[in-house]
Amino acid sequence: MTDDKPMNSPYLLQMKEIYKSFGPVTVSAGVTLEVKPGEIHALLGENGAGKSVLMSILCGILKPDSGSIHYKGAPLNIGSPREAIRHGIGMVHQHFMLVPNLTVAENYVLGQGTPLRLINDMKAVHQRITALSDRYGLDVRPDAVIEDLSVGEQQRVEILKVLFHGTDLLILDEPTAVLTPQETDRLLDLMRDLVADGKTVIFISHKLDEVMRVSDQISVMRDFKVVHTTAVTDTNPRELARLMVGRDVLMELPRGSANPGQVVLSVDGLSCRNDLGLPALKGVSFSVKAGEIVGIAGVSGNGQTELSLAISGLLPIDAGKVSLEGKDITGLSPAEINQLSFAHVPEDRHKMGVLLPFTLAENAILHRYNQSPFAKKGLLQRGVTASFARDLIKRFRVKTPDEEEFLANLSGGNQQKLVVARELARDPNFILVSQLTRGIDIGAIEFILQEMLKQRDAGRAILLISTELEELFTVCDRILVMFHGEILGEVPADRSRLEEVGLMMAGQRSAPAAAMEPALT
């Protein structure tokens, strides 16, 4: 083991000529990635470029067909997660690796320790978690049960888990995808702190501004290979985007002003409780008109999840009214709402958007499998379905071998593209979208946001719930800010109001500018 030890290699990690394929599908085509100790190394690439696969190989979860990994100057035993963990390689996965019915603390100690020893030091574990959580400002409660946490909270739990395991090399696979700008800022600071503590970070993100702000080195993947590695000081977002996508990407979308028509969705005094029976929405009222995009901003966990569930009939409503195109839809079942001109891109695609063990084609007709033309006389029309799915794949550039691929085998961003494609294909008058661009690459974001604007201009009403201010300000016409289950205020989507939205997200009620002035002077 020591004979081919490169004595004074400047690298902490060297992955060389990694090849991997699933049957006929190549997913790593000779990747070489080198990371120096103490740096933040960003890994960029389009959806499906092979970033997650490469990191899974590094963590021993996937076994490559060939190639070598050197870590701390010695070859790493490939294909063993225990070995990777033992060497201090830890990964925050793009799709959570948290057991839903266990507590945070139980998830952290999972797989550790001697199997048959009694667990009686959970108190100490709780204390360590609380201490770490306080230190990094992550707000994680050790006794919370995972399934009660929002997506954003779970992401924080995942990040803290890796820190809890005392990792030297942290791999963060799109950790900021569901975080708010403030949380993201804190995470980026945290990454800096960790590097100052002597750790090394590999950071995957589709958000170039974050990457530019925090990383030292950047590697770009394209078509299952690392095509370019550069110091952050030697590059710029435009160049990075071009390297990833292979063409120039628009950073700012051109759009005309909105032309709102009749009210399509109206929500009146809506109140409901969350899974734990606590009030989640407290008399929320607003409306969305045809031909406008209304954004809901807010830190995750302030009632946005419940709002989208209540509107789509998935959460019982305590008080208030929801109507769609003048029809009262309060208390209708999801199946009944599904029959209306209503499309829904849910926040957690795995829970509500797709069926992972089903094929892409089957997922494409998930809401309409029993309707013509996808079913005739109770029989599924495979041919129609396949050509419909192929059309979606082509229009939304979903990266997949064909429409018969299982959804589970698609990269995260490509799963999301399929959901969006499917929902827009229903030609709905009202579109409810949560975390629209979660995990989508910049080329695809540009495309999907353009698609949303097209829908708006075609007279659709769109409600866009997002923790992503950038996305909200890019496409919305008005932005409502939610805080603790209430709408604190409304702001036109004008970038000069960004700060105001940020303050409201933190709970500061907006005061009309005129009323504020005398008080200030």
Binding site: I61, S80, L98, P100, L102, G111, L118
Partner: protein, 310 residues
Amino acid sequence: MLDFITIGFLATLVGAAWRLATPLIFTSIGEVISERAGVLNIGLEGTMLMGAFCGFAATFASGSILLGLGSGIVAGMAFGLIFAFFTITVKANQIVVGAAINLLGMGLTAFLFRTYYVSTGRGVDIAPPIAIPYLSDIPFLGEALFRQNMIVYSTILVTLLAAVLLYRTSFGLTLRAVGDHPKAVDVAGRSVAAYRYGAVLIGTGLAGLGGAFLTLGHSNQFVEGITSGRGFIALAVVVFARWSPTGAFFVSLMFGLFYALQLQLQAQPMLNIPYQVFQALPYVMTVIALVMVGGKNASPRKLGIAYDGR
């Protein structure tokens, strides 16, 4: 007409309930452990039969009840190994393999019994009752509850051990995770397959013990189909107990009570009801229990689903 319900009647009923619940307690707790790891083993009936037969055969040959119980456990585990190989390693459908195990258990025990034992007509000495000092002197209740054999008493120990294993050890934590989110366990560097094998072996070992009790602690003979559906009732117990070992203990006791009631009521000549009605009682209750529990689902998320991580 109901004057046969005396204190004596009730005390006997309670004592009999515990005794009749014993095979269910072992088997359902075993199945709780197996299902918590995501493996649904419907082959319990066949596994119990194997335990009942092998336990009987070993005690018949050696005269030792402990050896019989041990053989019952080993026989159950042998069936468990077959089940685990096909469902975990080969990743065949758990229901299909479970059904095959049942057929195998029924056929094999019937064949072996007819070949070697049916003509002997002899039984074994069953485990003797042990009176617990002081407690057994309590009028009626002591008589009924504390003059059982050691196998019946051991159900309490098994229940406690199972609860500690599942909720207080790292093994149990990982096991529960395996049934809910196997990938997370894989990523944490533990083998999902190894934990599932472990859970199935514990489960089938206990089912074997449950079967062996029938021939060594209850009746003194092996009879074809001696389990009479207890393996299936154990599956219902698990659901009703919401996958908890202590729950399984108490739900089994409830079923034991139905068995006991059925036996005692049959013996009441003044009740002019066909005895088949009482015989059906435990099974009817099983169906009712399953319907009642049906709505709310606490089952492990990956129950019955093979894991193909790599």
